[in-house]
């Protein structure tokens, strides 16, 4: 492997100062499941590797019913799906982090790493878009926040400038009667990369008959993970019905602009965008229905 120096940064100021000074020659290391392979294969060059796992802000994992969820960029997948509150409130994210690679990858791979690798097929990203995640970015000048759908410029390319570091992802608290899901198509269930994928989140009216909120994003059908606002708009205020889901799935399919590569053809991916959107929507709807019931039961039990 190419030679580089190694710094285990302890603070945001230390890490961002190195990133600002070294520019492109500095690479952030969190879980390393992408970066170490990239360095070994010469797909990335580094003179210094900055290990950011030891920075407290990148290790936080906290949920509050009013503030929502904050996940530090260096929190590995296994910590996310082992957390009962995240599992209860962010099922779309859990679907994604529980199928990235295999168990040994999930023990190491981090949410921030999945975002910063910026693969069009990155599993966590459509789910994070559906859950309305916001990226917290630090630099020597301070911090800024931006919606995750604005974070990507192309395959492997993000909006992070010199000296900037992804610190955390902030997800708003779940809405009442909300459900979310992430689905992908792969030849193998584990240890595979999405041919195409869909992340969705919906919220239902009190009688659970109408959509009050809907967001959808697709993976591996464009140069970046693709937010499809028109698919959500096709659902809002519509009755929960096969016709509404069909309209959203057609909107998703129309937005997809895939390529043909070793994993699949453009035609197959356009078809998958439609099918996966439908299936993910029905799974999210089912979760919205049952979660609502579970919460009411919980309230009754506590009240009694």
């Amino acid at each position: 492997m190419q030679s580089f120096s190694y710094v285990a940064a302890r603070t945001l100021a230390e890490a961002t100062a190195i990133l600002a000074r070294e520019g492109d020659q500095a690479k952030c290391l969190s879980g390393g499941t992408d970066l170490i392979v990239f360095l070994r294969e010469g797909r990335r060059r580094a003179s210094v590797v900055v290990d950011v796992k030891g920075i407290p802000e990148l290790n936080q994992l906290s949920y509050h019913p009013q503030a929502g969820l904050t996940i530090g960029a260096a929190v590995p997948c296994h910590r996310i799906y082992s957390d009962p509150e995240v599992t209860a409130h962010y099922p779309g994210l859990i679907d994604a982090v529980a199928l990235i690679g295999g168990i040994a990858i999930q023990g190491r791979a981090t949410l921030g790493g999945n975002v910063c690798t910026a693969s069009p097929a990155g599993d966590a990203i459509p789910a994070l878009i559906a859950h309305q995640a916001v990226c917290v970015v630090a630099s020597p000048e301070g911090t800024r926040e931006l919606p995750i759908e604005q974070f990507f410029r192309g395959p492997g390319q993000t909006v992070l400038g010199t000296g900037e570091l992804l610190v955390a992802l902030k997800l708003p608290p779940p809405r009442p009667r909300m459900g979310a899901a992430y689905l992908r198509f792969t030849p193998r269930n584990e240890m595979d990369i999405a041919v195409a994928s869909a992340g969705v989140a919906v919220a239902l009216s009190e009688d659970k008959a109408h959509f009050t909120h809907a967001r959808l994003a697709l993976g591996a059908v464009a140069p970046t993970p693709l937010f499809v606002p028109q698919a959500g708009e096709a659902l809002i205020n519509q009755p929960v019905s096969e016709a509404a889901v069909e309209a959203a799935a057609r909107a998703a399919q129309a937005a997809a602009r895939p390529i043909t590569d070793v994993r699949g053809t453009a035609e197959q991916r356009r078809h998958l965008a439609y099918v996966l959107t439908k299936r993910a929507l029905w799974r999210a709807i089912e979760r919205a229905r049952t979660d609502g019931k579970e919460r009411e039961n919980g309230k009754l039990e506590r009240g009694g």
């Binding site: 120096s5 290391l29 390393g32 190491r108």
Partner: protein
Amino acid sequence: MHQKVCVTAIINDEEVTFLCEPRQSLLEVLRDVLGLTGAKEGCNNGNCGACAVLLNGVLVNACLVLGVEVNGARVTTVEGIAPKEGLHPLQRKFLEHAALQCGVCTPGFIVAAKALLDRNPNPTEHEVRHWLAGNLCRCTGYDKIVRAVLDAAAEMRAQRQPT
């Protein structure tokens, strides 16, 4: 070449201090610096699981960890699985069920299976297959491995709760 770094870690319950280059993976350090050749290099990119070890109790691929990253950490390799005398039940059951042929994947499977049974002493066949999906074996067709793990789990449960 960049300067070597001094790293101290608990490896198989023993404190070890070693020097390594930042670019050396934990797998290279284990095999080439520390002489622990149980973990194997298969794909060297996280797909085959032949280098699986436990890092602070968490299953990881040693080829995807830098040696310098384990400073202050606890690492368990296949050499640290067996008791002082004899074999771990998983190792014994792999032999009894003939769950290996060439043996290159076996250390990774043993470590990964131990990580599973540490968390879930009574896994279903499906759970075993899902957990071991990151370990590749080109000899056995996996069935014997899965049976060995299920049998080891049953024996370990029986020993824990004698009837």
